[in-house]
Symmetry: C2
Subunit: 109 residues, 2 copies
Amino acid sequence: MELTTFNALAEPSRFRIVDILLKGPMTVGDIAERLEIRQPQASKHLKVLLDAGLVEVKAEANRRNYMLRSEPFMELDSWLNNYREIWNERFDNLDEYLKKLQSEGNKPD
Amino acid sequence: MELTTFNALAEPSRFRIVDILLKGPMTVGDIAERLEIRQPQASKHLKVLLDAGLVEVKAEANRRNYMLRSEPFMELDSWLNNYREIWNERFDNLDEYLKKLQSEGNKPD
DNA sequence: TTTAAATATTCCTTTACAGGAATATTCCCT
DNA sequence: AGGGAATATTCCTGTAAAGGAATATTTAAA
């Protein structure tokens, strides 16, 4: 799992950019306008997202269309797999706890 | 989706703490030793994780046992749902592209 | 080839935050 | 009550990064 992914998403504007790009590719100016931030800031944030691999860009004449890449999200999903067992954990723990209690039944306290 | 979750996970030591806690609850001192960081830093990072709701703590005499909470991970998983369609996107896009081509067949260029 | 639009880059300032060292706090034990 | 272990907190310093303003760059069009 790439730490840069979390790093990129931790910043509010960048998080919103990713959210907006979910609806489709968008231009720098449109993104800036949508987020009510200035164009240079938008460019900077997009650069961070680009370096983190969260977005890709397709130059088209004057404009640059930014769009989401799927890989980081798949990677995030894959990383989450390790943690999915947590939300079954309580049952597992209860199970193990009962077994442990049983096996320790003859142990001197 | 809580930005604090990304923020908490963006820091290398905290990411490692979460990774380590996956194997089970652990004490502050053990975490510090395991990560080869100093105890105060461990406490500070754990405080951030605690405030972000990523971990919970159970005081036990002198020691404090930190363990993962499932909620933020479930929330992350739920957030990811919005993005899962991205990795089917290419097919959708191809589909739409073909339809568009067809509907534009009689358009003057 | 000049002009204008869209975007990127640079420089500056300010703020947030991580680490180090020292200290406070809490709890158990005798 | 006093001492020691485990943990939290505070203060300080350095650094990374975000925002603002100005400017550079690229491209299309006249």
